[in-house]
Symmetry: C2
Subunit: 429 residues, 2 copies
């Protein structure tokens, strides 16, 4: 019996958006199919590619030729699977010519990552975010931030050129919900920005000939950056939690990013967990952020502790907190002992609503994964209604660069979707 | 600039699952494309179909012929758009030959719906659920329930045959999470069932020659049943709330049903909203269900009020409550006055996590939509962080039949996906 009609959802609920399948579209779709297959499964012979994709051997040979012309695949070692038949040379992704770029704006730092098609990080930069201390906390003046961001991108584009890489796109990880129709960050409460036309402003600063620019929310990009590691183990439903001054979630359900209709999904910092709780800066009470935000850790430190300073790089502040904790600072020990329960109050809600298979702790939660993962896992296990609903808790493996790395990976998706975007390599006559 | 790379999510996160595109698959995909286009947009001429789908006129003519042979489309009136060129006859979905069947098991009733390809409900039945009052509340003995369910399905299959309808499939709306690998309802706390092999048991009772059977959770099917009405207005992100003894959510994000990795998404009745709240039967405190479940309404009625009786059909119980409320019963008035705020405490969490564009109130919430929708809408508007995040609240238009209707619609998806499943009509020699 068929216990699940897997394909019905989109069709049921969206306008008919399928495209007719003609011959030009067939070539493009099959190029993408082959490139994605190599991307997901690694190098293999033409014969294996033909078996696994169902394309004829002749078609595979032609298509691989097209991909090689654009520097997307290359011949590799002889394949050594089984012993029957003539051994074929393996076809691999070619990591030498195509890259994606990711830029993250954060309250604490501005990071750029350059990643090639093979997944190798070719260069990263991270600089403290320009900001000034004012009467109402720290402010982030728009122009200096954008100037610095554009400068960092230009540096990295030059770096790409020096390394012989064509950059498929630039994806900016914005610290708030993104306006997908326009080019704006709509609400970045922790920067004090609202409706900033981030895309347009950066494009104006980059000049005419830059790669296509896209915006995405930082938590969503971090989730996309962590997703392939979990997808390789068959996990396609996950929640990535950013832990910073605010708390956000990147949600992947059934292998797809959940954006929400206007890009506001995962704004979990303000879910109300206790009507009698602490007042939040949003005006409500008992928001999850008041229980687990980075400030709840900073608040137990001495007023003049350097870890409190937003002018220090985030890595240094975290290192300082780690040192204090290892030195047995008592209030810090109490805070980290109480944090798992507070984390589970919100994470439990996310589990009930979304039924993810994995929760990934990012940001400062990830930096203290050794203290948090096990107790959070145990507390979530204890509240299960059914063993099959178990969720696996882990710390982010990408550290504070997750969003920038996710941005670089998303930029590369343009080429995986449409390999013909990549320019043909100059012929070596 | 491209501010959104729409297609990257699935590709980023799941194994490569695309299929190569050959000529047989092309025919099937294009038949499905045409049928879905007519399903979504209504009848139109071959010329319009060609324009809108991008298929050649010759291909449209051949494909429409194939669909007509299977009783899926028919010729209709002359199209009257514009005045240029020869008027073409319109091609319509043919509602006369193909149907889907949905069966809902609920604590209160067992309902079956038969729906044709044109969307018309051809027959429905609803009978009280067989159950017995025991020491620990009501129990639902398995065999009588399954016997009655199979009997109702058989009656409806006979009805379909009498109406000349071929039934594409049967989808059972189960009152709990569903095991998609097997055929089990995994946890139906309100029926007291656990791991019941519902699919197998029903199949055994139906005998060998029944249409393919599928299971799905009731809240998810209700969401799918409501989705097309909203999709026609461009809304593809919604949450359907079931209001019964328990509270569940059916979630559609970006036009896709969110199932969760093990089918447990939307188990929102037990999200914890108040650590100092009322004890829940799940063992925790302050669960949303303790604030808004149907029992919170029943609890304000006199002990012997007939609306409390699970032996009465749900419609009658709701009618009785409506009468009491209209007669000015004071405690009921208070309950309905307080309910919106309690609804918004949980709905607000769902808005923060999922950013849906619409929330549909189903079950008893839907039956009292006139009392609930406006105050819930106002309270949700008041807590907005950004006007673009506004969510539209409405009552279900499908009433208590939503899940059975959703099941019937999902059964029809098999044919929309693969029109060649429908048997050719007997030639009328």
């Amino acid at each position: 019996m068929c216990s699940c009609a897997a394909a019905y959802d989109e069709a049921m609920t969206s306008q008919s958006s399928a495209s007719p399948v003609g011959h030009a579209a067939m070539r493009s779709a099959n190029l993408s199919l082959l490139l994605r297959h190599l991307h997901a499964h690694g190098g293999r012979s033409r014969a294996t590619l033909s078996q696994e994709t169902g394309l004829s051997k002749a078609a595979v040979t032609t298509l691989v030729g097209d991909l090689a012309e654009r520097g997307l695949v290359q011949e590799g070692e002889v394949e050594r699977r089984g012993r029957v038949g003539r051994p074929g040379t393996e076809v691999h992704l070619d990591p030498r010519h195509v890259a994606g770029l990711g830029l993250e704006l954060n309250v604490d730092y501005l990071a750029v990552s350059l990643r090639d098609l093979g997944g190798t990080v070719r260069a990263t930069t991270s600089v403290p975010m320009p900001g000034a201390d004012g009467d109402h906390g720290r402010t982030y003046p728009l122009d200096p931030v954008l100037d610095l961001a554009a400068a960092q991108v230009r540096v990295m584009l030059a770096e790409a050129e020096a390394q012989g890489l064509w950059v498929a796109g630039i994806t900016v990880a914005a610290p708030g919900p993104v306006d997908y129709e326009g080019a704006a960050v709509r609400f970045a409460s922790n920067l004090g920005w609202e409706g900033v036309p981030l895309g347009e402003e950066l494009e104006a600063r980059l000049g005419p000939d830059h790669p296509p620019l896209a915006l995405e929310n930082d938590a969503k990009l971090s989730a996309l950056a962590e997703a392939p590691r979990l997808a390789r183990r068959g996990i396609h439903d996950l929640v990535y939690l950013t832990g910073d001054l605010g708390v956000g979630a990147g949600i992947i359900a059934g292998g797809r990013l959940v954006r929400g209709w206007s890009g506001f999904s995962g704004e979990v910092g303000h879910i109300g967990l206790d009507p009698a709780g602490v007042s939040c800066r949003c005006g409500r009470r008992g928001c999850w952020e008041t229980l687990v935000g980075f400030e709840t850790v900073l608040d137990v430190l001495a007023d003049d502790d350097p870890a409190r300073s937003p002018h220090l790089p985030m890595q240094e502040r975290l290192r300082r907190i780690r040192e204090l904790h290892e030195a047995g600072e008592e209030r810090l020990a109490e805070r980290f002992a109480a944090l798992p329960e507070d984390l589970v109050r919100g994470a439990g809600v996310l589990v009930d609503v979304l039924n993810p298979q994995a929760i990934v702790l990012g940001g400062y939660f990830g930096a203290f994964a050794d203290l948090l993962v096990q107790p959070v896992q145990e507390a979530l296990d204890a509240r299960l209604l059914d063993a099959d609903g178990r969720v696996e808790v882990s710390g982010s493996t990408l550290g504070l660069d997750a969003a920038a790395l996710g941005g670089a990976a998303v930029s590369l998706e343009r080429v995986l979707d449409d390999p013909l975007l990549a320019p043909p390599l100059p012929t070596r006559a």
